[in-house]
Symmetry: D2
Subunit: 293 residues, 4 copies
Amino acid sequence: MANLGFIGLGVMGGQMVNRLIGKGHTVTGYNRTRSKAQPLVDRGMKWADSPRAVAAAADVTFAMVTNSAALGTIAEGPDGVLAGLSKGKVFVDMSTVSPNVSRSLAAKVREKGADMVDAPVSGSVITLQEGKLSVMVGGRRETFERLKPVLQDIGPKVTYVGDNGLALSMKIAINLSLATQMMAFSEGVLLAEKSGIAREIAVDVLMHSAVASPMIQYRGPFVLQQPDEAWFDVNMMQKDMLLALEMGRQLDVPLPTTAVSNEFLTAARGMGLAKRDFAVVFDVLARLSGVSK
Amino acid sequence: MANLGFIGLGVMGGQMVNRLIGKGHTVTGYNRTRSKAQPLVDRGMKWADSPRAVAAAADVTFAMVTNSAALGTIAEGPDGVLAGLSKGKVFVDMSTVSPNVSRSLAAKVREKGADMVDAPVSGSVITLQEGKLSVMVGGRRETFERLKPVLQDIGPKVTYVGDNGLALSMKIAINLSLATQMMAFSEGVLLAEKSGIAREIAVDVLMHSAVASPMIQYRGPFVLQQPDEAWFDVNMMQKDMLLALEMGRQLDVPLPTTAVSNEFLTAARGMGLAKRDFAVVFDVLARLSGVSK
Amino acid sequence: MANLGFIGLGVMGGQMVNRLIGKGHTVTGYNRTRSKAQPLVDRGMKWADSPRAVAAAADVTFAMVTNSAALGTIAEGPDGVLAGLSKGKVFVDMSTVSPNVSRSLAAKVREKGADMVDAPVSGSVITLQEGKLSVMVGGRRETFERLKPVLQDIGPKVTYVGDNGLALSMKIAINLSLATQMMAFSEGVLLAEKSGIAREIAVDVLMHSAVASPMIQYRGPFVLQQPDEAWFDVNMMQKDMLLALEMGRQLDVPLPTTAVSNEFLTAARGMGLAKRDFAVVFDVLARLSGVSK
Amino acid sequence: MANLGFIGLGVMGGQMVNRLIGKGHTVTGYNRTRSKAQPLVDRGMKWADSPRAVAAAADVTFAMVTNSAALGTIAEGPDGVLAGLSKGKVFVDMSTVSPNVSRSLAAKVREKGADMVDAPVSGSVITLQEGKLSVMVGGRRETFERLKPVLQDIGPKVTYVGDNGLALSMKIAINLSLATQMMAFSEGVLLAEKSGIAREIAVDVLMHSAVASPMIQYRGPFVLQQPDEAWFDVNMMQKDMLLALEMGRQLDVPLPTTAVSNEFLTAARGMGLAKRDFAVVFDVLARLSGVSK
C-alpha cells in the first residue's frame, strides 16, 4: 500500500480520499477549512497543517483545487507543496488549470528532484462513486507507470495522453462537448414538447437513447427542475469554452458548434443566469421558443 | 405467447424476429427479397407471400421499412397490410417516416376496425443485441398497454409518449443530437490532436468520458478509420435533420446547433461524401483545420 | 414610346406605373381593388377590367403581385393574362415566386406564341423613387434586349442573368444577406450600447460606415423605433430564407450565417413577433443581452 | 487655418496629409521611413525628425499607426509625442488599438496639460479619396468641438460618440459586420453560381443591390480574383473579431453571426490562407461547396 498525500478536500477530493483509504492506502490530508476534513480524519486520514507538511510526509501528493490561483497558493511560499517536495517524490495535480500554468509548475517541481503530472478527471462525484471515473495523465511515461496502480484505485479508467500539460488539453477538448450536447439536448426536448409530448417523457426517452451520454444522464432532469446549487455554473463552463476557443484559434481548428453554444452561455449571463448550472441554456432556448417556465 | 407478424426482415427487423422467436412467440414474416428470410425460416418463422397474408395470419403485425414510400408499398393495394387487417388486430409501424404520414395511415387502419401505433426505436443493431434498445410508442394508451409485454421482448425500454405520430416526433427530437454530438466530438478530437495528443488516444479518452453517449461509443472509432459501408449516411442523416428543422420552424423552436451542424452535412455533400457515414463530418472539419487524412 | 400593361398596382407597382407614365409610355392597368388605381387613372393610366384585358391591350404586360398563389390567380382562367396573350407579346413578371413556378408559367406563355421573363427587383419603394432600383432579368436574351429600354425607365440598373427562373434564384441569393446583415448590425449596436455609447449615436455611425448597405440605411432607424407596419415581416423574410436554405441543400452550398440568422427569425416567431418587420431580430438579441426595450 | 502635425505617413496617413494641405493647413510630418514622406514634402509638408518634434511644432498632432505596439513606440521615450506635448495642445490618435490602451495613454497626455481623443475611421483609402470617410471621436466634448472643423476636412462625416476609448469600441462594433457581411455575400454568390448564373454576373448584381455596403463594393470583385496583396488580411480581421468577441463576453452581448464567421476565418488559417485578404472566406466556402477555383 502507498503512502499518499491529498490537498483540497472538497466534495470531489474528499470522495477520492475516501476511496483511497478504503483501498488500504495511508493518506495524509490538508484543506483550507479544517472542519470539512473531520469526517475523513474519523475514517483514518492523518491531518497535516500545511501543503508543505503533506508533501513532506507523503511519497505521492495529490491536489484538487479550484483554479490556477488556488494552485499557486498551495504550491508556492514557505508552506507550499514545493517546499515539502524532495528527490523521488511525485506531485499529481488533478485541478483544471491552463496547460501552460501546469507546465511551469512541473518545471519547478523538477528543480527539486521530484516529478509532476497533470491528472484531470472527466466525470462528477456520482461517476466517481459509481466507480466509473476517467483519469487522464500528462507527464513522463515512467512516472505514469509508477502512479498507475494508485490512480486506478480512483479511476478505474486511467489513460496516459502524453507530455506535461496534454492531459489538461485533453480535458478541455472533452469539456467543449458538454455545452454543445446540452444545447442539442435542449433543442430536442423543446421540439418534442411543442409537438405535444410531456416534457418529463421527452427527458426520460432522451435519457435512454443513443445520445444519452453520462452528462445528459446527470443533467437531463435539470430541464424539469433547475438545481438550487449549480454543479458547474455558466461562468465556470464559459471559462472552459473560452480556453477551448483560444486553443482553436492558436492551433487553427475551427470550432463551429462550440462557438455557437458559447454565445448561448453569454445569453444566459445577459439574462442574469450566470450563477446557475450551465444546463440553464435550456431556459434561454425555452424563452426564445415562447415556452413559459 | 403471442401470434405475431413481421414485415421487413432487414438487419434490424431480422434481429427483432430472432429475439421474438427466442422468447417463444409465433412469428409469420414477409420480406421483399425472400432469400434474406431463409435463416429466420430455419429458426421457425413462418413465411407468408404478401404483407396482406402476414396481417391476415397475425394478431399483431410489425413493420420495419426504409421510408414513407416503402411504407406505402407494403400498406396499400390488394396485397397490402390494410387488406389483411380486421377488427381487433394491431399494426405496429417501427419505420422512421414523417409524423403526418403515420397519422394518415393510422386513420385508414381504424376504418378497418383495427388499430395502429408508431413505434420507432433509438439505437442500432448492436444496441438491440445488447438488449438495450429503447422503443417509443405513439397511439391509443389501451393499445399500448396491450402491446407492452411484446414490445418489452424487443426493447426492453418501452415508453408511451402520446397520440399517434408523437413517437416519430420524439425520434426526430433525438436524432437532431446525433449530428451535433458528432460535430462537437470532431472539434474535440482535432483540438486534442493539434495540441500534440495522438488521435487514437484522444478518441479513446473521449469514449470513456462524460460526453460518451452510445452514439459516440459506436462512431468514435470512425474518425480513425471511416467505415467502407455507412451505418447511416450523410443523406439519411440530413433527411432527419431537415425534418427537425422544418418542425422547428412550424413550432417556433430555434435550433441553432442543429442548423449549424446541418450546414456541415451539406459541406460533406459538396465535398463528394454524401454516401459516407455521417461521421465523415470529422473529415470535413479536418480538412478545414489543415489536417491531412 | 411603348404600349405597356401593368397588373398589380400596390405601393411598388403603382410607383412603377407613375415612372412609366412620366417617361411618356402608354400604360393600361388592372388591380384587384380598383379604388387604389384611381390616382394613376387621374395621371393618365387606362383602366382595364381584367388581367386578360390588360394583356390584350398591351404589347408588353408587367405583373407585380404577392406570391405564387396570386400569380396563378392573375395568370390562369378565362380572365387571366394567358387568355389575353398572343404572338409577339411579352409578359414580364416582377413578383418574387419560386424559380420553378416561374419556369412553368413561361412554358405556358410560349405555347401562346408570346414570351415571358422573370424580372424581380432588389430595393424598396424608396430605392425606386431615388431612381436607384436594380432589375434582374431571366429568360431569352433577345427578349431581354427588346425590353431593356423600358426596364431602364424603371431601373435604371438592369442586368440579364440567364435563362428563365435564374433572376429569381439571383433575388434569393441577394435576400439571404438581408437577415444576416441585420443580425450583424444588431450585434454591433448592442455591443456599442453596452460599452456606453448612446444607441442613437451607434446607429448613426454605423449608417455612415463601410457596412452601411442600402438595407442598413433603411432599417438602421428601426432599432430605435420598430415601425408599426412591417416593410417586410419576419414570416416573409423567413420564407425567402427557407427558399435559400432549400436551394443550398439541393446545390450543396453550405450557408452557415444564413442558417444561424434564420434560427433567430424563428426565435422572433417564438417570442410572438412574426408580424413585425424582420429588423425585430434586434429586439430578440436585446432581450438575450438583458437590454430592456 | 490650423497648425497641424501628422505621425505615420502610410497610404492612409499620407492621403490625409494631402487633403489637409489641400485645405490650406500647415502640416509638420514624421514617418519611420523618411523616403515615403518625400512626395508630401514636395507638396509643402514640413519634415520633423521625431514624434516629439512634431508635437512640439504643432497645436494638434495626429497619429495613424499599425497597432498598440507602434503607438507605444511613437508616444513614449525621449523622442516620443508625450515629450513634445504641453498645455493646450491636442493629440488625435486615429490608430485602431484597444480601448484600454487608448484610455491609458490619454491619462498620460493629460498629465502634460494637453488633451487626447481617439478618432478611428471607417472606410478605406478609396472612401477617403471619394470624400466619404467617417470619423468617430472619443474624449472630452469641448476638445471634440475644437477639433471638429479640421476633422471635417478629413471626414467629412464626423461623430462624437462619448468618452475616451468609446470611438474605438464603436469601430470594433462596426468591424464585426465586415467578416459577417463577407460570409453572407459569399454564400449568395455561390448559391447563384451553382444555380447556373455566371459568377461575374452574380457579383455585379449583388454589388448594385440592397445589400451592397461600401465594403461589399470594394471586396465584391475579390471573389473573382483575390488580390495579390491583402487590404486587410485574415489575421488582422481575426484580431478585431476577437476584440469584439471578448467585449461581447464582458458585456454579456451574444454575437452569434460574429462567432460563426470567426470560425471560418480560423478555417482560412487552417487552409494556409492567413495572409490573404479576409475576402478569402469565399474560397473556404467554395471549397466546401465543391466549386473548383
